[in-house]
């Protein structure tokens, strides 16, 4: 196996004269990106076992969803993966649209794609900064946030909120684009492309960064499939799957974009895949802005959306982290009988042991950072 080979390359540090012990990392640890608790079995500095412990911010969102209407549920999904809330909202809206047979106007579909891709870039920029900071590059963190701020400002002007947007509605979007949105989005796109070039020089080409990420945290393709990984993590392991291309939703089948795939499965591959994803998102935004039609932004929908009794609806979307899916079963009333979410981060954290056993504890931080975990998404 690839990982075993890798261990041979890196001999154990303290000459075999070490003792195994358990170390608690988190729940309040700056490198765990939130309240994630990792119980780590260490042999000297070498990680032998990682057990993620969840439940610190469990909010019982699925149970809450049973007592809320579909329209009210949209704003709860903002609070799952708060860096991909437009995409999460999209999943709920598609469930409602399929269950109640609502069409979406063209303009609304284009707006949905544009804001979703803007958000993907925004999320990846935050990840880029946080990942570089995990490795020790603090200025990268600040640059990533400065760039992200431009997109956050667009969202603030568009829907009034910076983080929990609650912008999509069944049958469209809540508000039309503000005047000058297209110009702002184009400006943001060109800024991002320029910034990505700068990041290439600042972090990607850096030898320390390369040494710390290449060959670290290898996840094989089979294991990625076995653990149910998706998104950039799975694509870095050679699994060529993207919901936007392979199970197209909305109007994603109208745009031409590449799905970056790497085969190494290490932290550097995950890094490269995400960096390329930002460029592809820019391409999608540019195509969508070019074709953006005028017209209504919301279809007429019934005031109370009921999922018919016994109907089960499943829809999935590609968020910045992987595939997010929502299943809802109706009982003919305004509230669903059962709602279940599939969040990508949970599977990635489950595969953490697979990736990090045999590496040093400092590599564990790198590996965790490369997975782009958002804890409320893992633990809901």
């Amino acid at each position: 196996m690839e990982r075993e080979q890798h261990i041979e390359v890196r001999p154990p540090s303290a000459g075999g004269n070490t003792e195994e012990y358990w170390l608690n990392m988190g729940p309040q640890h700056p490198a765990t990106h939130g309240v994630l608790h990792l119980i780590v079995r260490l042999d000297g500095e070498t990680v032998r076992e990682v057990k993620p412990e969840l439940g610190y911010i469990h909010r019982s969102v699925e149970k809450m969803a049973e007592n809320l209407t579909l329209l009210q549920n949209i704003h709860l999904t903002d609070r799952l993966d708060y860096l991909s809330c437009h995409m999460n909202n999209h999943a709920v809206c598609m469930v409602a649209e399929q269950a109640c047979d609502i069409g979406v106007p063209e303009r609304a579909e284009y707006i949905r794609v544009i804001v979703s891709e803007l958000q993907r870039i925004q999320s990846h920029l935050l990840w880029w900064g946080a990942f570089a900071m995990d490795i020790g590059a603090l200025s990268a963190f600040l640059y990533g946030f400065a760039e992200r701020e431009k997109i956050t400002d667009i969202f603030e002007r568009l829907c009034g909120a910076r983080l929990t947007m609650n912008y999509f509605r069944p049958g469209g979007v809540a508000q039309d684009l503000y005047d000058g949105f297209e110009q702002d989005a184009r400006q943001a796109c060109s800024d991002i492309l320029y910034a990505l070039d700068e990041y290439q020089r600042l972090v990607t080409g850096n030898l320390i960064f390369q040494e710390r990420t290449r060959g670290v945290g290898i996840l094989s393709r089979d294991k990625a499939i076995g653990y149910g990984c998706s998104g950039g993590t799975a694509r870095a392991s050679g699994l060529d799957y993207d919901v936007r291309r392979d199970d197209p939703y909305g109007i994603y089948d109208r745009f031409s974009f590449d799905v970056p795939v790497a085969t190494a499965g290490d932290c550097y591959a995950r890094y490269e895949v995400r960096m390329e994803e930002m460029r592809q998102s820019v391409q999608i935004i540019e195509q969508a802005l070019k074709d953006l039609p005028v017209g209504p932004i919301q279809a007429k929908a019934k005031p109370v959306l009921k999922i018919p009794k016994g109907l089960q609806v499943f829809r999935q979307v590609e968020t910045a982290r992987g595939s997010f899916a929502m299943t809802a079963i109706g009982d003919g009333t305004a509230t669903p009988l059962r709602v279940s979410y599939r969040s990508p981060g949970f599977m990635h954290v489950a595969a953490l042991h697979e990736m990090s056993a045999g590496f040093k504890i400092a590599d564990l931080i790198t590996i965790l950072g490369s997975l782009d975990p958002v804890i409320p998404d893992i633990d809901r």
Binding site: Y143, C159, G205
Partner: protein, 176 residues
């Protein structure tokens, strides 16, 4: 500057992991060591060019002097701060007490308590809004058929008193 897409096309992904660039895979240990020292220093300097450039370029300053710039700080028009109930030109509220916003709220943050007018008509008595359980989701504003409530642009909502978070929104215009 060349087109960034040419640098990082999809083909690159299959080849880039064969070996780290610049370091020949069959070089001797000493040679690798020296190549690493040289590339390490040059790559660091390349990165430092970016940071130093930002340091001296005033256009890249993004920091806002927040508490000092309060006066000129304007929030976006659609900013969702908190629910407010504006008065119309006559100093009256548009709210009819229809309770649609109460039903739309996912968190039970709104209670509309109606009372009877002397003529026997049902009118709004108290409109209670609880900021502490409000998620600023905008659903109540979208539900209101009369445009009686809207989102304020105030953003400094923290308070030291718990009681300050529960508020009666309908007020006489003159007393403001």
């Amino acid at each position: 500057m060349s087109n960034p897409r040419d640098i990082l096309g999809p083909q690159r992904f299959s080849q880039s992991h064969a070996a780290p660039k610049l370091i020949p895979p069959n070089a001797s240990v000493t040679k690798r060591y020296f190549i690493r020292v040289v590339t390490g220093v040059t790559s660091l300097l390349t990165g430092m060019r970016v940071t130093i450039g930002k340091f001296f370029d005033p256009r890249t300053t993004v920091t806002q002097q927040y508490p000092e710039n309060r006066d000129e700080l304007k929030m976006a028009e659609r900013f969702r701060g908190r629910v407010v109930m504006p008065h119309d030109a006559d100093g009256e509220h548009n709210c009819t007490g229809c309770t649609l916003c109460e039903k739309a709220c996912p968190n039970g943050s709104i209670s509309v308590l109606n009372t009877k007018h002397a003529s026997g008509r049902k009118i709004l008595g108290k409109y209670i809004y609880r900021l502490d359980s409000c998620t600023l989701c905008n659903l109540c504003i979208e539900a209101c058929p009369f445009g009686a409530i809207e989102m304020g642009t105030e953003f400094e909502l923290a308070t030291t008193r718990k009681e300050g978070l529960v508020e009666i929104l309908n007020k006489k215009a003159g007393r403001l």
